[in-house]
Amino acid sequence: MLRTTLILFIAVWAVFVVVPVALLAVWSFLEMKDYSFSPGLSTAAYAAVFDSGRYEVTLRTLRIAGLVTAIELGLALPFALWLAKAVRSSLLKAMVLALLTVPFFVSLASRTIVWRSVLSRSGLVNTALLHFGIIEQPIDWLLFSEFSVHLGLLAPSFPTMVLPIFLSISLIDDELIEAARDLGAPPAKVLGDVILPLALPGIIAGLIFTFVPLLGETVVPQLLGGGRVSMLGASITSLLQVLNYPVAAALSTLVLGILAALFLALRLIGGGSIAAVFEGMKR
């Protein structure tokens, strides 16, 4: 039974995951001539990635996605801890969770465009600061800058970070927290020795669910970057629009390679403790 399911899973996974990725990798070693693939392999696409400045776009994307993910983690951890362990009323808990999903009811573009009227030279922030005499000239780096892109990315990716962490903290038996306190652990130790290690699967899930979609994000950089903050998603889209498949494939393959390297590093650093946590969940 397990064997059959496993074989079935691997087959489906191969068709829908492995084959597209493999094709992508193959494409990245092809060349285009007159809008069709020419025979023979070449590394021209990779050369194009580095020559055309798309390499810098990749690095910038990784940096922005990484920083936004780190900020999300810093915000989500205390929030999830509060929601999972400090909120006793299940009604309040349900309401807060529902509020977290509200952003999904409105399209990302509509939510993002609103930031323009807040951050622009004549927007809310500048008007208020000018009015109270805190500044004399409108601040112009608020909009169409990396700052506004970071800010615009924060709210949409908060739920994907907070929900898995909330779930994993909720699963920690209160008795374990009380046992740690009882044995003499001050609050910081309870957090570091018991809550964080046991919440690790949720934290890792939150990091992946937040970081990976950020790499492909197109709407926010386009609307709040104002053409100055070019990120990978838009870069690949524009390549596809001009039917430059090999370079688009090379760029995607490069990102996949970087992601694989990151996960490998994560495994090497935290692999043992993650495995121990999963082992510990066997009751």
């Binding site: 038996d173 008795e175 374990l176 009380e178 046992a179 740690a180 306190r181 009882d182 044995l183 003499g184 652990a185 001050p186 130790k189 020795d193 018991v194 290690p197 046991l198 403790s273 121990a276 946590v277 082992e279 510990g280 969940m281 066997k282 009751r283």
Partner: protein, 364 residues
């Protein structure tokens, strides 16, 4: 951490004076005073909702009383102190073992928090594991252990920091019966050997009787009775205490007479006498109850001073004895017959000696 000199003083291990804990309008704990001498095995007995767990959480510092006159552990005032500043540890109901740590890491966690070095931690943890008969399990994972072994790990972890008071929150509840009986004996032996003060929370009168130096029976946030196991079993002070301590037959009535500690209780089947074990002397006419344990009843021809006729409704074979249910003028009565000979006829005379009967106030 109290120094050795502190530990040598004569203060009781635990003193809670007049503690109350209100949850909204519910009185979880209502003006309760509990003290435990050093090295005592004190059992807090009660049903769920009796306040016993609230009491334990207040001692541990996991909950705080609404009002209290004094709260001292090992002679040290701990009122308002968080759990990590109290020299008390708890063996939790579901053991509270950290699943991401090995057995050894769990056991020595308290020492690690106190800044004890790794090698000393390890040797003391291994010694504690040996104390609870888990030698060589230091590197095991928690999920590899059986329920009884987990229980022992939790014990080892809690005794390692040498607390003034060890709290045990229904620690045997999750074990199967055989293991529970073994652990009862083991716990008592461990307590004697360490000379440590144990405060043991349970709902099982059997555990309370077999393990404790002293028992506090709780009901509705108050102390219903306290005394030695023998006091509670043989001299229950109220109808509730009698029924909680397993008295099978409780016959309601009113006090007809009282002299020399013996009361006469008027029941629908006549006036019967028994030792008055209520706290205050009764007055005639007060409503009261006659307590008769099933094993003290005699069935059959021999006419005794006290007794009445009953019609047998059920005989349940229990091996060592036969559980007999009867219909009587005072309602259903349960007795134990040791042979079938007494049960030949449908109606049978139920008798007992007045010395085996107890009389208590109907309530309170």
């Amino acid at each position: 951490m109290p120094s050795r000199a502190d530990k040598a003083n004569d203060a009781p291990a635990l003193e809670i004076i007049r503690a109350s804990r209100h949850f909204g309008s519910v009185r979880g704990l209502d003006d309760v005073t509990v003290t435990a001498a050093r090295g005592e095995f004190l059992t807090i007995l009660g049903q769920s909702g009796s306040g016993k767990t609230t009491l334990l959480r207040i001692i541990a510092g996991l909950d705080h009383p609404t009002s209290v006159a004094a709260l001292r552990i090992g002679g040290k005032d701990v009122l308002g102190l968080p759990p990590h500043k109290r020299n008390v540890t708890t063996v939790f109901q579901h053991y509270g073992l950290f699943p991401h740590m090995s057995v050894g890491q769990n056991v020595e966690y308290g020492l690690k928090l106190r800044g004890v070095g790794a090698s000393e931690r390890r040797s003391r943890a291994e010694a504690a594991l040996a104390t609870v008969r888990l030698t060589g399990k230091y590197d095991r994972r928690i999920h590899q252990l059986s329920g009884g072994e987990r229980q022992r790990v939790a014990l080892a972890r809690s005794i390692l920091t040498e607390p003034d008071v060890l709290l045990l929150d229904e620690p045997l509840g999750a074990l199967d019966e055989r293991l529970r009986l073994d652990m009862q004996i083991e716990l008592v032996e461990l307590q004697r050997r360490l000379g440590m003060t144990f405060v043991f929370i349970t709902h099982s009168q059997e555990e309370a009787l077999t393990m404790s130096d002293r028992v506090i029976l709780m009901r509705g946030g108050r102390i219903a009775q306290e005394g030695t196991p023998r006091d509670l079993f043989e001299r229950p002070c109220s109808r509730f205490a009698g029924s909680f301590m397993g008295v099978e037959n409780i016959i309601g009535g009113t006090v007809a007479s009282f002299a020399d500690g013996m009361a006469g209780i008027a029941t629908p089947a006549g006036i019967f006498h028994g030792l008055w074990t209520g706290a205050a002397a009764p007055h005639v006419g007060q409503s009261a109850a006659l307590l008769l344990r099933a094993e003290k009843l005699r069935l059959g021809a021999t006419a005794s001073a006290d007794g009445f006729e009953g019609r047998i409704t059920a005989r349940i074979y229990k091996g060592k004895y036969i559980d007999v249910s009867m219909d009587t003028p005072v309602g259903p009565i349960h007795a134990r017959a040791w042979t079938d000979d007494d049960l030949a006829s449908e109606t049978v005379r139920i008798g007992w000696s007045a010395g085996d009967a107890r009389c208590v106030p109907a309530e309170g």
